[in-house]
Symmetry: C2
Subunit: 340 residues, 2 copies
């Protein structure tokens, strides 16, 4: 990505093992993330060009000398953040705070919208998938790299439990999988705020009980009206822009929780007496430690009982990735998968 | 309170029963709260004069026709917010969000720095104390009206549990009782940030294991140094000014929680990737539903095993209340009790 709006596919040297804890993975499926749209809108030319992409399934091609438990030829999925999976933070399930961890596309590690990726901390990061897995499952398995785990993080951090009432803000892939996750955790009522009917229809398929297409004050009033004036106990915010935060404050029940997984495009926001403090509302969330959730989420994906991969509604080749960005930016595609 | 810095004691008509759910209570002990200092610094003349005070122990003098479970002559303590104790919010322990509740000194209800108070929702609000309780226990019992329950709320909402690490920001009465509460909930390490030695000494008596007198960046660096660079899992913020919030962000461990009970004197604050979101830090707290905690906190106060009343270090008569404000404002007194 050279700058906002300018994504190019270029030849680059194949990645090689740099640390004994590295692996090189040949990518089989990758995709474009809603969070990639933030730099697609904002990246300054001075900060580019930058490799991009952080979600992939691939085949292990090379292994550093200190990596065990993986073999060349293994099919693996990678969480969007790499981590050692052994430190105190990882053991607590907070892999995104691992001191040996980091992010694809940063600090000399390539992006995953590429033919191959160097994976630092490969042993702690990569999760082996069954050999010979049905190709039809790859889209759902790919969501374990980010969007399913991120939607799950929103619901998990909000403490969603059986009988709960939940509002999900945002009908992107993460919002829709937050709906799925809230339902899996037992939420009884799931109000999805989104205005793209094809997406909110998928949200209903994933378990949304109500859809609110209105935004801003009107959307807040609608959710309050639907909840006896109270709002819902949990609000899962899967957008990242300040108006979504303000909507979350508007629809959360006193004593409830706003759980954010949309990467905030703001630093300051209302938290005082008139927003969070007065009604004892909690704010939680952050970048999802998806590695912590993969083991639990994998079985229902493998047996086909859950299909988070339905969020992919367009497939492109690597050469067509710039078109993929455009399609997602124009909301013509919900989520774009890249095949190789 | 006429305006900032101007507190006067005036004759006022005795309160009378206005609603069948009211009681009139003759005050035996009242006090000045750290939160009363906020209007003492900021109240505009146009917003005054306003009755003030919200903490008291007293004797029931009159009862509305719909109040049961209380008798004239009962010694009672009142939470700083009145509430019906029957609605959905009260049943969840969130009395400060009771739709029939409210705050002393507002909306036609008098303040508690007075000889008598009208108590709305008396049946749900007032907690009866044993007849003939030792007068020496009154200061500790008085803390159940606010500062002990508020300190407890900070620790409770932060989920403090055995073995935990906690930083308490602020050496006022609430901060010191947050220390006491964190210890009661089993915290192993309690770092108290405060710079008044007589207060932090009381904090040590209440269970603080470490004291950090430095403030701002220096204080943050000190706490990080003491915690292997990580910060503590829980941070209890008992001040309410923005620098205290910033300190909380600086000393909280990734994945940890900031629990606020200092009334925020700001509306916007940092919550983005660089503060709360990136490290998955949660923010919680609000006005304490102290009614929810009184039953649990009362026994250890009555049997003398805990002495939260040690926060009172000066006693004044009602006529001397303006002096009490001055003493607290100048940090000459930690907390001022009013006798009648």
């Amino acid at each position: 990505m050279y700058e906002a709006g300018d994504v190019r596919v270029e030849d680059a040297p194949d990645p090689v093992i740099e640390q004994p804890t590295d692996a090189v993975v040949r990518v089989v499926r990758s995709c474009v993330c809603g969070s990639d749209l933030h730099p697609y809108h904002n990246l300054a030319a001075a900060d580019g060009p930058a490799p991009i992409g952080h979600e992939f399934i691939g085949v292990v091609e090379e292994l550093g000398s200190e990596v065990s438990g993986l073999d060349r030829g293994d099919l693996v999925v990678s969480p969007f953040a790499f981590a050692d999976n052994t430190c105190a933070y990882c053991r607590e399930g907070l892999h995104t705070s691992c001191p040996n961890g980091g992010w694809y596309g940063n600090g000399g590690v390539g992006g995953a919208q590429a033919e191959a990726v160097r994976v630092p901390q490969a042993q702690g990061t990569l999760v082996k998938l069954p050999a010979g897995v049905d190709e039809g499952l790859l889209p759902s398995l790919l969501t374990l790299a980010d969007v399913y785990g991120t939607g799950y993080h929103a619901a998990f951090r909000a403490g969603v439990e059986p009988g709960d009432s939940v509002t999900v803000i945002g009908d992107g892939a993460v919002g829709l999988l937050a709906v799925l996750s809230a339902g899996e955790l037992g939420a009884e009522r799931i109000i999805l705020m989104g205005r793209h009917k094809d997406r909110t229809d998928l949200g209903r398929f994933f378990g949304a009980t109500d859809v609110v297409a209105e935004r801003g004050e009107e959307g807040i009033a609608r959710v309050r009206e639907m909840t006896g004036g109270h709002g819902t106990r949990a609000v899962l915010e899967a957008v990242g822009h300040l108006p979504a935060y303000e909507t979350a404050v508007g629809v959360v029940r006193p004593g409830g929780v706003i759980s954010r997984v949309g990467v905030p495009q703001y630093e300051d926001a209302p938290v005082g007496f008139g927003s969070l403090f007065g009604p004892n509302v909690s704010l939680t969330g952050g970048p999802a430690p998806v590695r912590a959730y993969i083991d639990a989420l994998l079985p229902a994906v493998l047996d086909g009982s859950l299909e988070p991969g339905r969020v992919f509604d367009r497939t492109v080749t690597l050469d067509e990735v710039p078109d993929g960005y455009r399609a997602m930016d124009r909301r013509e595609a919900l989520k774009v998968m890249i095949t190789f």
